[in-house]
């Protein structure tokens, strides 16, 4: 079908099999000479078991410090059409909903100015346009903004916040994740486009502790919906689950509660809500009978990151509970205080989680004006080397 310039037997093997094939996808765009050379270059990587990309060159759109990732091949003579293969990050719409028209608009822009290859979506959550030349960047940018889209972040700046689909399609959303995500995305456009931080900063928003956007592992600031009052129980629906017999409520629900606060006597289900840790398990398995309480809000956790540089971290509790209502002034004040401190005192390439480890959580809290709380720790310290400040 394609007039391919290079034989690609190794890649062709990955066209077979039931799972959708990225090789087929690349070939669908092979009318572009850039993509034909990409196939040749990638086949070479498969033969040699080594990548053929390098850093280099200044690329970006005027005025922005993020959104374009420069990429050059180390075999420009052999594969000239893919010698430049830059990536563009395009701001994701909150919740990743689209209309067919919006998708076509994006496709048309990318058809005119790039390889035609995308990631829906990249790991940051942004739309990724994969592969174009430096000269196409300004035209793409102006067509994108004309169509109502903008670039995402890269480098020492904020990344486009992302969120689960929350209230749009989930009965468990304890706050409006999409409204919050869109609000912070719009509020911090400057921080997203003009790098002024020691390193990247990501905000991710999940509507409940199931954390479908993995915020606790993947964001510097993780906002996870939760509730403070009692789990809502519909006793009639509980009976239906018991009668249906697919679920052993004693074993599968009460038995799997991490804090063992559920009592099931064969007919009634009772929960000691004061000791429930809001893990979601019972609600997950009995969605028709149980739902989160009515006094809803979110827990804010801080500082998750992948291993580079000082080791991986999961986020830890910063604000145990916050109502999280528009216009989110309290959250924004908190963000401003944290950024102010970290931007001024963080070292180059130090994520906020590492920064907190270096200066100490106690000092960090003092600087941003939050009181220490026992919810922030698994247990108090065991080590007696205390730095008393008298």
């Amino acid at each position: 079908m394609t007039d391919k310039k290079y034989p690609t037997p190794l890649l062709d093997d990955l066209e077979k099999g039931p799972w959708p094939s990225f090789v087929k996808e690349i070939k669908k765009s092979a009318k572009s000479p850039m993509v034909q050379d990409l196939l040749g270059l990638l086949e070479r990587s498969y033969e040699e078991k080594i990548g053929h990309w390098k850093h280099g060159g200044l690329v970006g759109v005027q005025g922005y410090g993020g959104g374009v990732i420069g990429r050059y091949s180390d075999l420009p003579a052999e594969f000239p059409d893919v010698s430049e293969f830059h990536t563009i990050r395009v701001n994701q719409p909150s919740g990743w909903f689209y209309t067919s028209d919006a998708l076509r608009t994006l496709c048309d822009i990318w058809d005119r100015h790039g390889s035609g290859l995308t990631n829906m979506h990249g790991s940051t959550g942004d739309i990724v346009f994969l592969g174009t030349k430096t000269t196409e960047l300004e035209p793409i940018f102006s067509e994108l903004t004309a169509a109502g889209f903008d670039l995402g972040g890269s480098g020492s700046d904020m990344r486009t916040p992302s969120c689960c689909n929350g209230m749009a399609r989930c009965e468990w959303a304890c706050y409006d994740t999409m409204a919050f995500c869109n609000d912070v995305t719009q509020t911090y456009q400057d921080e997203l486009h003009r790098p002024a931080f020691p390193y990247k900063f990501k905000i991710k928003a999940s509507g409940c502790p199931n954390d479908c956007v993995a915020s606790i592992a993947r964001s510097d600031m993780s906002v996870i919906g939760t509730w403070r009052d009692d789990i809502q129980i519909d006793p009639a629906a509980v009976k239906e689950y018991a009668l249906a017999g697919k679920l052993d409520i004693g074993k599968d629900v009460a038995g799997r509660c991490p804090t063992k606060v559920i009592d099931w006597d064969g007919t009634t289900l009772a929960i000691d809500n004061s000791n429930c840790v809001k893990c979601m398990h019972c609600i997950n398995v009995m969605p028709k009978a149980l739902s989160p309480g009515k006094d809803r809000g979110a827990t804010i956790l801080i500082g998750a990151k992948a291993p580079i540089v000082q080791g991986a971290l999961l986020a830890s509790v910063l604000v145990p509970f916050i109502k999280l209502e528009q216009p989110y002034e309290d959250v924004k004040e908190l963000i401003a205080a944290m950024w102010d401190l970290w931007a001024e005192h963080g070292k180059n390439r130090e994520r906020i989680g590492e920064f907190i480890q270096r200066i100490g959580l106690g000092n960090f809290l003092e600087q941003i004006g939050l009181d220490p709380a026992p919810e922030m720790v698994i247990q108090p310290r065991t080590n007696p080397y205390i730095f008393y400040n008298l």
Partner: protein, 79 residues
């Protein structure tokens, strides 16, 4: 010292970038700290932010990425 404006801070930053060109890469916060040191109470973070925005928007400077984002002179400025 006369009160500083975004434009005057931008000019001072631009002069500093020229001094350091080829010697040391400067981040937005390095410039900000230097300006606050230089102008004292006549300058603050917000003014510095506006100044950097001016340098970018009139194309005197661009951002570079070398293991972190830096503010650098735009080699194509005036061409």
């Amino acid at each position: 010292m006369p009160a500083q404006t975004p434009e005057s801070v931008a000019d001072a930053m631009y002069a500093m970038l020229k001094d350091y060109a080829g010697k040391k890469n400067l981040k937005a916060m390095d410039l900000t700290k230097a300006m606050i040191e230089k102008f004292g109470d006549d300058c603050d973070k917000q003014l510095c932010k506006s100044a950097i925005r001016i340098l970018m928007d009139d194309a005197r400077c661009t951002y570079s990425y070398v293991g972190g984002s830096y503010v650098v002179l735009n080699p194509d400025y005036g061409k």
